[in-house]
Amino acid sequence: MGRLIKVTSGNTVLVPLIAILLGLLTGAVVMLIGGYNPIVAYAALLERVFGNIYDFGETIRQITPLILTGLSVAFAFRTGLFNIGAEGQFILGMTGATLIGDQVSLPAYIHLPLAIIVGALLGGFWGAIAGWLKAKRGVNEVISTIMLNWIALYLGNYIVKAFLLEPGMQDSRIIKSTAILSVDWLTNLFDGARVHWGILIALLAAYAFYLILWKTKQGFELRAVGLNPYAAEYAGMNVGRNIMKAMFIGGVFAGLAGAFEILGVFHYQSIASAFPGYGLDGIAVSLLGMNSPLGVVLAACLFGVLTYGSAGMSFAADVPPELIRVVIGAIIFFIAAQAIVRLIIAPFYAKRNKAQGGS
């Protein structure tokens, strides 16, 4: 309880809020320079997200993978690693889910969990490769994850093309209905939006993130290794194995995100020429959320609302949707450079303190 108060009081809440405000303000200025009306644009953005239940549902759909890739990056950060590889882990998650969804025939209560688990494990495996490279061969994880992303992209394409292709098409067959995660009544509730149970699991994953790192023996080791590998080694922890575990767990989060995209949203996998982008966005989400599970969830919501809403902004106000990247960038900028925000709010504080002192 005391901890909760500490987290939600004072600057920890005020600074991000003001950063968001400043970010939106930056976007508004850029729009004004471009001759657009920011009020109309932001209204259109909100309208798109909250205007009807369908779009609201789709926004949730957009948020789900962002939470998970954000957790993936944040988990690695917490253990002293920089995971640029959520992108590749995500793709392997998709591929695993599609493979199981297409190739296996099982009753739904086994098929669906199996598809999710295999997707998650493949994502974890892909992360663990980078972990292994670092632990055993001293390969910087930044390089290896960048390379593994590209390898995953083409590996995924190859698997789709070689084993899963719908003849004459550029994507896989639709997975079997027993592996589909979409929930009809939920979709109907949201007027056809592709909402699925993944959001619930993503929130559970955030909680699991917290439990693993701060409540378990394993998490104690992971954090110790992340903060000071030499002391961890001294204390008898196996640094290499913990690095691999950390990357594995991070990969599982990203793999889950990929699996849900297939099982809950697309139901098929395309041969892609470019990355889905959730992995790189996950870096931003994780940083925006200051690498804490609750922060990541909130950041993913903000991120998802802004990106999904940007289409409405461009539709109704003709503002190029890329503007929203400027807004997100500015928000992260102000959160990162908190000193600026404090500089801005300092006068208000001073005034308030004076007022209090006087009374």
Partner: protein, 517 residues
């Protein structure tokens, strides 16, 4: 010796940090050609004061005068231009650079657009010869001994034409030989007309070299005395504010069965050199074996092999007759070994963990803290509270990050953690480095208590006093081998020093790594 107008005078310097007044209206005077010693406990505010004089911090109140005129020192640059040089507590040397590069950095002699390395090297050689500071201008800092690094620091200040030299705990990391050399250098500098401020916890050094002593406690000047008018006991009492005993009082030891046996151990060092060369020795239950030696003769590697942090390729280590050679650190600690590491920040602590987390760094997986993979933070906190009480660890709370504790208290955390594990064998490496007399007293008492409980203790230290005061038996290490064993009361500093220098040859001061092969 001193004229009337001091070269430096601090007047009412006050410096506040959040929650603490580090310097509280401190005034002091330094006269030309004088060595002024600053004495005080850990955290008394000595480094802070000197950082202010050197322009790294700005005082909140007070004034600095030089030769009677007020000056404002707003950056190290200004300090340097006013002729102030500082040798910092933690050396300010760029590891991958050469000695010359470090010395000329910021004032590089030029030829066209290039650095004139020839001129630089020449100048460095000149200076080192002039003051008798033997250094190798072309060696990389990462490859040279701590003693040579310190000489580099001194040449660095001289290169900048400093007349006022500040030394912040210069001897904390030096071997006795190196300390002797430093004392000689300080005398020489003073003879050349320089003035020196010296911070040290070693009262012996103060009595040896200082002219005046200023004692600081909790940010305030307690007293300033002439060296000739005081003695170590008095200084120590003024500094800590209570009586301190220097002589460790202990009963004679009663060694029993051997606990640690090391036979013909070999291993490679970080640069692939032969670090241990068939070292053989043993420690018995109920005794403290002190290993004396000059830094870099295999002490670090020995500890690493004993604790499982480094692999040996020949020879073996047994604890209680169990061969534990090349076991993992975890298995070795579980077989009854505890270890106070020489670098507490690198190995001993996770600085961003809380005090209570650091206290279970090696035992978090024990059943009392860990139920089916879940940690019981209640149990961990209770454990921490108990140890804080028992070992008198001064911390605002068990949840404070350990980074915010003083060095002495950080060391207490490590000692508490290691001793609480009730080991058969305790390895203590440089356990009192940088600690004030009060903290040192505490550490030594703990080591002896362990011995008295029938544990085996292996003490590795560069401090001859410590080795001689605490150990029951002394082994001298030289180039990865034990070259001799003596009893503390049967030997002299001279004899030990000779053994540490390897047989009877006189020791070449300088780069021992370069000369190892």
């Amino acid at each position: 010796m001193s004229t009337n107008v001091p070269v430096v005078e601090l007047l009412g310097i006050t410096k506040r940090f959040p929650g603490i007044v580090a310097n509280d209206a401190i005034s002091l005077k330094l006269h030309k050609g004088e060595i002024l010693a600053l004495l005080g406990e850990n955290g008394a505010g000595k480094s802070t004061l000197m950082n202010i004089l050197f322009g790294l911090y700005q005082p909140d109140e007070g004034e600095i005068q030089m030769n009677g005129k007020p000056v404002i020192i707003d950056s190290p640059n200004t300090a340097i231009s006013l002729g102030i040089g500082m040798v910092h507590q933690h050396f300010k040397l760029v590891q991958p650079f050469t000695v010359t590069e470090n010395i000329v950095l910021g004032m590089e002699p030029r030829k066209g657009m290039n650095i004139d390395y020839q001129a630089a090297t020449r100048k460095v050689k000149e200076l080192s010869e002039q003051y008798g500071l033997s250094i190798d201008p072309n060696a990389r800092i990462a490859d040279i001994s701590v003693g040579m690094q310190q000489r580099v620091e001194i040449v660095k200040t001289l290169f900048r034409g400093a007349d006022i030299l500040i030394f912040d705990e210069p001897t904390a990391v030096l071997t006795p030989q190196e300390i002797e050399e430093l004392m000689a250098i300080l005398r020489k500098l003073v003879a050349e007309g320089k003035s020196i401020i010296l911070i040290t916890h070693k009262l012996k050094e103060i009595m040896q070299i200082a002219d005046t002593v200023t004692i600081i406690r909790r940010g305030k000047v307690i007293d300033t005395v002439k060296k000739t008018e005081t003695n170590t006991q008095h200084l120590a009492e003024q500094m800590v504010g209570r009586k301190v005993s220097f002589q460790v009082d202990k009963k004679p030891s009663q060694p029993k069965l051997p606990v640690l046996e090391v036979r013909g151990l070999h291993c490679h060092g970080p640069r692939g050199e032969e670090a241990l060369n068939g070292i053989t020795f043993g420690v018995r239950a109920g005794e403290i074996l002190g290993i004396a030696g000059v830094d870099g003769n295999g002490q670090s590697e020995l500890i690493e092999v004993l604790t499982g942090l480094r692999k040996s390729y020949r020879g073996d280590v047994a604890i209680n007759s169990t061969n534990v050679t090349n076991w993992s650190p975890r298995k070795i600690t579980e077989s009854g070994l505890a270890h106070i590491p020489e670098d507490r920040h690198k190995r001993g602590l996770v600085l961003d963990f809380s005090v209570s987390e650091n206290l279970v760094l090696e035992t978090y997986f024990y059943p009392q803290f860990n139920k089916n993979g879940l940690l019981s933070y209640d149990a961990i906190d209770r454990h921490a509270e108990k140890l804080i009480e028992r070992y008198d660890i001064r911390t605002p709370s068990i949840h404070s990050v350990i980074r915010s504790l003083s060095g002495g208290n950080q060391q207490k955390v490590i000692i508490a953690r290691e001793i609480e594990r009730n080991p058969e064998l305790l390895i203590a490496a440089q356990p009192t480095r940088g600690l004030d007399v009060g903290a040192i007293e505490f550490v030594h008492r703990q080591l002896i208590e362990q011995r008295d409980k029938g544990k085996a203790v292996l003490l590795i230290s560069f401090e001859l006093d410590e080795i001689r005061n605490v150990s029951d038996r002394i082994a001298v290490i030289y180039e990865g081998q034990i070259v001799g064993e003596v009893m503390p009361h049967e030997t002299t500093d001279q004899e030990l020093g000779l053994m540490m220098a390897g047989s009877k040859e006189s020791k070449e001061g300088g780069d021992k790594h370069g000369s190892t092969h």
